[in-house]
């Protein structure tokens, strides 16, 4: 079993206009840089993107927003992107803001084969509008549905030819959850190794969830808030 594809362009060859994509990463940390670049080049349109954030103006999903490739964003926090806010306030872009834990858990539910989960996040708020609620032990919970996505695009640190993935530090974030949730999951990795080289105990995402994998290149790994202390 070999899931390796040549590069990002080959990996997204069947992504089409109007599809729903999940994109891993938190802020610019752990985003699938190569796959986003390929989507920008391919210029597929009318996408629904599920991603915790929307990048910044000139990097990450921000690049897709510039080209008006995104019809709808489902995110928890979009504060770092002026173009995003402009498109949102002018009504050009449809946006569904949902709590971060809800976003993570709706991905997880999809990967665990559960149609819905119950969470107290958002009870009594705009987020609860139109949603079914249930009371357990005196506390009210919202029913949140598992996500459905045509493709999940994730970035891992290491991966093997069978699609097993290992993430690094806080670049893990939503990546393993989205990897479980895509109808088709594509992983780009910093280091691609033959099956058998990764310690089975150390693998975060079992390859059964991953359909295509390739070694990415030219990682920029841009830092949003470089914060240091003097020596």
């Amino acid at each position: 079993m070999n899931k390796v594809v040549a590069n990002a362009h080959a990996a997204i060859s069947d992504v089409q206009d109007g599809m729903t994509l999940m994109l891993g990463g938190f802020g610019l940390c752990g985003i699938p840089e190569n796959l986003i670049a390929a989507l920008v080049q391919k210029n597929v349109k009318n996408l629904t993107c599920i991603s915790n954030n929307a990048g910044v103006d000139d990097f990450g999903i921000g690049l897709m927003l510039q080209q008006r490739q995104v019809k709808k964003m489902i995110s928890s926090y979009v504060g770092e992107n002026a173009e995003f806010e402009r498109q949102l306030l002018s009504g050009e872009l449809e946006v569904e803001l949902i709590p971060q834990g809800t976003l993570a858990t709706r991905c997880m539910a999809a990967g665990y084969g559960m149609p819905a989960v119950f969470t107290p996040a958002g009870v009594g708020t705009e987020v609860a509008e139109g949603k079914e609620t249930r009371v357990f032990n005196g506390k009210t919970y919202l029913m949140e549905m598992a996500f459905e996505a045509d493709f999940a695009l994730v970035k891992a640190w290491k991966g093997d030819t069978q699609g097993n993935l290992i993430f690094r530090a806080t670049a893990r974030n939503f990546n393993p959850l989205m990897a479980m949730a895509g109808k088709t999951t594509i992983a780009e990795v910093e280091e691609l190794v033959p099956a058998g080289e990764l310690d089975p105990d150390a693998i975060h995402t079992p390859g059964i969830y991953v359909h295509r994998i390739f070694q990415g290149k030219d990682y920029e790994k841009r830092i949003e808030q470089r914060t240091v202390k003097p020596r």
Partner: protein, 217 residues
């Protein structure tokens, strides 16, 4: 009147040894600078880290290692990484002992609004709705009044709600308040701030005990 550092310093007095604590963006982040030396506090960053260390030295930043405010950080002995579902799992399950976050408005029944100003600011709630819905103990760090002098401690929130009845304590630039069935209960005054000033600056129900000590730093 307390400055931002003093608000953080006052909140740090609520810390107890061995607590797992989530600090929000802004003033709450500063609380980490005032953890007493003899105390062990484990900071949770909701993007997927327990055991958040200080900022790195210049040149040692790791783009794969950031906190929930997207700042570069470090790990410390005992640190652990996990995915965002587990991160909010431990929050939802009540494992995090204390959550400190900022607010635009707090109501005297514990409601909080801090994620949206309709038509103006739409940044999103991030993890705030998850945190306030599940945290056992929530302390809010905030300015008591807006720039044009309007109280932000209200009888009911005017902005879109983040969570209902969840705030237990407020530390503002004017004082420290518990929230219970009496509304805002004034516990301490900021240095040089009179009870009368606090009464005049608080739109929500305010309970003033006979003795209201002045904070010292």
């Amino acid at each position: 009147m307390l400055n931002k550092e003093q608000i953080a310093q006052r909140i740090a007095r609520e810390l107890r040894n061995g607590m797992y604590v989530n600090l929000g963006i802004g003033i709450p982040t500063l609380v980490a600078n005032y953890v007493p030396e003899e105390m062990t506090i484990v900071l949770q960053s909701e993007n997927g880290l327990l055991g958040m260390g200080p900022f790195p030295f210049d040149g040692e930043e790791d783009p794969d290692l950031i906190n929930a405010g997207k700042q570069t950080i470090t790990t410390i002995p005992g640190s652990v990484f996990f995915d965002s579902a587990m991160s909010f799992g431990m929050i939802r399950a009540g494992k995090v002992d204390l959550t400190v976050l900022g607010a635009m408005e707090v109501a005297d029944n514990g409601d909080i609004a801090n994620w949206k100003i309709p038509g103006k600011m739409v940044k999103g709630m991030g993890g705030a709705m998850d945190l306030v819905a599940s945290a056992k103990n929530i302390i809010v760090a905030m300015q008591h009044c807006s720039r044009d002098g309007k109280s932000k401690l209200l009888s009911s929130c005017t902005l879109p709600i983040t969570g209902l009845g969840c705030v237990k304590k407020v530390v503002s630039d004017l004082g420290v308040f518990d929230i219970d069935h009496r509304g805002f209960v004034l516990l301490e005054r900021a240095p040089g701030i009179s009870v009368e000033t606090i009464v005049a600056s608080t739109e929500g129900r305010l309970f003033v005990p006979d003795e209201v000590p002045e904070m010292t730093f």
